[in-house]
């Protein structure tokens, strides 16, 4: 394994470099798509779906790519990226659920049940 002078990256064999590159490109595209959804969607209840996609799938792609690359570069199995994967998979739904509950409570408390065109969810009316 020779170390490149330019970037500090290790030189992998081609059959491993191709899947690592594909995973990196796929993770980047998914991250960009999720953040674009956060920016462009019209309603909060639609906007919350975009980051959920890239926090789970984009992070998974990057972490698998990092595991493959580190294992090949250090010539021993490197699996400590699984810690981040497990942590993110455990905590991302909790954050989404708490934020969604807070938003529903705030909207119900303010009393706007159908506020904007393109609203995805109708709140139950109080009797």
């Amino acid at each position: 394994m020779s170390n490149s002078m330019m970037t500090g990256m290790h030189d992998l064999s081609l059959w491993l470099a191709v899947p690592v590159s594909l995973l990196l490109v796929l993770g980047g595209l998914i991250t960009l798509t999720g953040a674009l959804g956060l920016l462009r969607l019209p309603n909060f209840y639609q906007r919350i779906h975009g980051p959920a996609v890239y926090i789970t799938v984009g992070t998974g792609c990057f972490l698998v790519a990092s595991m493959l690359y580190s294992s090949a570069a250090l010539q021993r199995p490197v699996v400590h990226e699984l810690l981040i994967t497990g942590f993110v998979i455990l905590t991302a739904p909790v954050v989404s659920m708490m934020l969604m509950r807070a938003a529903v409570y705030r909207d119900l408390r303010k009393g706007n049940t159908d506020n904007t065109p393109g609203n995805a969810y109708k709140f139950p009316r109080e009797h």
Partner: protein
């Protein structure tokens, strides 16, 4: 051959994550309600974690892994605290 491929793919991924961070900052500054801003802040934490992970691949160092793990941990705790504050008006009931 393979090192050019890896460098290109890594540069593309870093560019995508940086653009995602810019989008999150725009939503954070523009968001009409408070929950939009907190959602954008949580997404910004996660995008920063991904960017530090990509830096760790690029510099071939495992030091960046601990930084990414710490950022994920602190981001989770702060987002939970902010969401609790939005719901009840106080963090610990």
């Amino acid at each position: 051959m393979s090192i050019q491929l890896l460098t290109l793919a890594l540069g593309f991924a870093q560019l995508c994550v940086l653009l995602a961070m810019v989008f999150c900052v725009i939503r954070l500054l523009r968001g009409p309600t408070a929950q939009d801003r907190i959602l954008a802040l949580d997404s910004l934490w996660m995008a920063a974690m991904l960017f530090i992970l990509l830096l760790g691949i690029g510099f071939a160092s495992t030091v960046y892994f601990e930084a990414a793990l710490l950022i994920a941990l602190i981001g989770f705790v702060s987002s939970i605290a902010l969401a609790k504050f939005l719901m009840r008006g106080e963090v610990i009931e």
